[in-house]
């Protein structure tokens, strides 16, 4: 009873804290000065059509580097927690049935298409909605389809770890390239900017976002693989 009252009071408190955001602040009519500056300068300075990508990769690129590091830490935590040794009976799985013919065939046909779509999404991150994170998720979906179709087989663990660490190193290397050849760490103007709206443009932004996409894809695949079980 006591706890219910406390929960109710906590909810009332939070409701009061959120009320000004929902009602009194209302909806803005104009973007603030910072947003206006980004909107006006991103296409001219970085030749990106997608301003969100310009902010994620370049203006706040250091943020994204930290975020990828957090993602790596969480994935490593999941992998370390869900080993057979640690989980005992919950970690070891009974031999499973093979997937149906339909799922197996679909996995064979769709894996390469899904992976290609993922690559398309992250290489066009500076032109259209999407980018490294969305493309990485699509690649993880391709891996998931394979896990579902062949539950017994193990993914090439070494390959995934290699992709993840190489793309992480490439991310930092591209950042350093910006520091040496342009104005600062993760400045995409280390490479020529090109023409707005072309696939090869916006300096290093497509490269950085591709590297992020590969890293996110490898990490999310690692989470799915760890949760599937059967891990030594």
């Amino acid at each position: 009873m006591m706890r219910k009252v406390l929960v109710f009071l906590a909810l009332i408190g939070f409701a009061f804290a959120l009320l000004p955001l929902a009602y009194r602040a209302g909806v803005a009519d104009e973007p603030n000065a910072l947003a206006t500056a980004y909107l006006e300068r991103a296409p001219a300075e970085l030749a990106t059509a997608n301003v969100v990508t310009a902010i994620v990769v370049s203006y706040r690129g250091f943020d994204t580097l930290g975020e990828v590091a957090v993602l790596f830490a969480a994935t490593a935590g999941v992998g370390a927690l869900l080993t057979k040794k640690r989980l005992g009976s919950a970690g070891a799985r009974a031999p499973r049935k093979e997937a149906t013919e339909v799922l197996g065939t679909a996995a064979r046909l769709l894996t390469s298409l899904l992976a290609l779509f993922g690559v398309y999404i992250f290489t066009h991150g500076h032109l259209t909605p999407g980018g490294g994170f969305q493309g990485g998720v699509v690649i993880a979906t391709a891996v998931l389809l394979n896990i579902l179709a062949r539950p017994q087989s193990h993914l090439a663990h070494g390959l995934m770890t290699a992709v993840e660490s190489l793309s992480g190193a490439a991310y930092v290397a591209l950042g350093l390239l910006g520091a040496f050849l342009a104005w600062g760490f993760l400045d995409p103007r280390a490479l020529p900017l090109g023409e707005l709206g072309k696939l090869v443009s916006a300096g290093a932004i497509p490269l950085i976002y591709s590297v992020v996409g590969l890293k996110v894809g490898a990490e999310l695949s690692g989470i799915l693989e760890a949760l599937k079980g059967d891990r030594e």
């Binding site: 919950a90 999407g130 999310l220």
Partner: protein
């Protein structure tokens, strides 16, 4: 104005699905309803002009999160089953060992 009305309707749907996800007796129903909350949220993101976020939310929030939950639920159920198997086998083992 019509965007606002659509967002409010979507908000009510999300509220209903969210409450359903919390009160549902079955964890499976909860997981599916939580995925539904994310799916409607991605619609709201699209309505307010954030297609990047809408893509991410649709792929991660309602896709991969649901899969992750289902895998965890399956492993939890399996552990339950093996525990009950063990406790069922245990008396037999004692019986076999007694003579």
């Amino acid at each position: 104005m019509w965007t606002d009305v659509a967002i409010i309707i979507a908000g009510l749907v999300m509220l209903a699905a969210g409450i359903g996800a919390i009160v549902a007796k079955s964890l499976l129903v909860s997981i599916i309803l939580a995925g539904g909350v994310s799916l409607v949220a991605s619609l709201v993101f699209l309505l307010i002009g954030a297609p990047d976020v809408a893509m991410t939310e649709a792929a991660i929030g309602s896709g991969l999160t649901t899969v992750v939950f289902l895998y965890a639920l399956a492993r939890s159920k399996q552990a339950d089953k093996e525990d009950s198997d063990e406790s069922a086998e245990h008396p037999d083992a004692e019986k076999a060992g007694a003579p």
